[in-house]
């Protein structure tokens, strides 16, 4: 058990590496040095066992496990409905993260973590199908790799 300064609890941790919208990024998580669990957002001490954490980056490809959508804009939201939301599973870190989807994506699709601009000037992380950036630049049918092909 490492000591935790009270001041460590005052700052809200960064969620992802800053970049331009659409660029690949990483979620900033904490890997526990004791129980090996991963926490997102990052915490100075593991919420599960209390041991120290080391900075860990969650990068794609991840697997989109489930998805849904929000069809009415909730109070306080700056993003306007409708919009898609999904759960991305990072198998190596054994953690699932809820985030906005850049487009409608079928469960089982491999996704990257990207910087997403859900409203003008807003920056957050989002999940985008692997290969979608290339696809959007190229003509032809839109297909996204399935988890079975990439894992």
């Amino acid at each position: 058990m490492t000591s935790l300064e009270p001041a460590d609890l005052l700052a809200w941790p960064e969620l992802f590496l800053t970049a331009e919208p659409g660029a690949p990024t990483a979620l900033l998580a904490g890997g526990c040095t004791g129980c090996r669990r991963t926490a997102f957002p990052r915490a100075a001490r593991c919420p599960a066992c209390g041991a120290a954490t080391r900075p860990t980056e969650l990068r794609g490809p991840a697997v989109l496990d489930t998805c849904t959508a929000v069809l009415s804009t909730p109070p306080g939201a700056l993003v306007e409905a409708p919009y898609e939301v999904g759960v991305a599973r990072f198998p190596a870190a054994r953690i699932c993260v809820i985030g906005l989807l850049t487009e409608r994506i079928e469960p089982g699709t491999m996704v990257d973590v990207v910087v997403h601009e859900p409203y003008p000037g807003g920056r957050t992380f989002g999940f985008r199908p692997v290969g979608a950036a290339d696809r959007d630049l190229a003509p032809g049918p839109r297909t996204t790799p399935s988890a079975e092909r990439l894992l």
Binding site: R37, T68, V79, I95
Partner: protein
Amino acid sequence: MRDVVIAGVGIHPFGRFDYGYRELGAYAAEDCLRDAGLTADEVDLVLVANVGAEMAKGHNVVNRLRHTGKPIVNVEAACASSGSALALGAALISSGAHRSVLCIGVEKAPRGFIGASGFETWQIETGLGVNPLYFAIQAGELLRDTEATEADLAEVSVKNHRHAVHNPNAMYRKEISREEVLESREVCPPLRLLLLCAPNEGAAAALLMHSDEARRRGITHPVRLTAAALVSRGPDDWFVPAPAFPVDRTSLSERAAQLAYEQAGIGPADVDIVECQDTDAASELLAYRELGLCAPGEEAALLRSGDTALGGRRPVNVSGGLLSKGEPLGASGLGQVHELVTQLRGHAGARQVEGARVGLGHVMGAGHNSCVVVVQR
């Protein structure tokens, strides 16, 4: 848990009303005290569960009854608020600290999405701070991982609305069809409007008493409170508002249920009637598994068997559940207890579960907390 009985219960119907939370709470409290044959000044302690009202809310409710000079404590744990008050009251009686505790749950929620569920600012601004989204994720997993279908989700709502026809305390007392449910407006797929409960207003109360005190007062055949298990987030749990969870996550409700069964010295097979947290239809199916009523994967089969409907082997939400009563957050758990006690007394009329002797109530709240109670004749 030993020596704790429920000497009285009271309720103000759940719905929408043109008076305030103080009146709602006072009504349920007085209804409860009359049921027990006590006056407010005879109660040692009052615990008041509420989520959204002002400061000193419990004091404002009790002041409607009498200025007793006795301690009043406010309790808040989201949807598990009144379950938490009940667990706290039971512990204080078991410990000998008090001989009678009046637990009141009351809420007057605004219409629309429930706000302030503990989300971080970034979640709210990016549209991730909305409760049905999290229930929809669970529902999606249920449909993906089990035999449950959207028709099964609809059937849960149909069943609970059918039950509510006979409950004068429910907000919606009209039967609905599977087609009506499946054609209702999508909120967060696969969840639709009629698959979700409505936050609303109401109040409920229960008077807890030491069994010796109940005997001294001549309260005969009270219902015993044999378990009140309260748990919060464990290392691998997930619920609103957490933005992430372990791949191998665990269930708060399952842990609360196991603890409750241990406290009561019974198992799931001993339970005659269940009131569970059907915030949405999928949550009821998940509760079948979490409360040990069926094995994982058999949720839909249990529903289709008819066992969880009135007349079945172990009816669930014969009150109509939250899907039909609506959910006044601070009162929902005590509303369940009111129903269970009414059933165990044999006073439930057309919705009576014949021969019910063991009842289980289950609530689950934002911020990660769950309470499971067991009541027995």
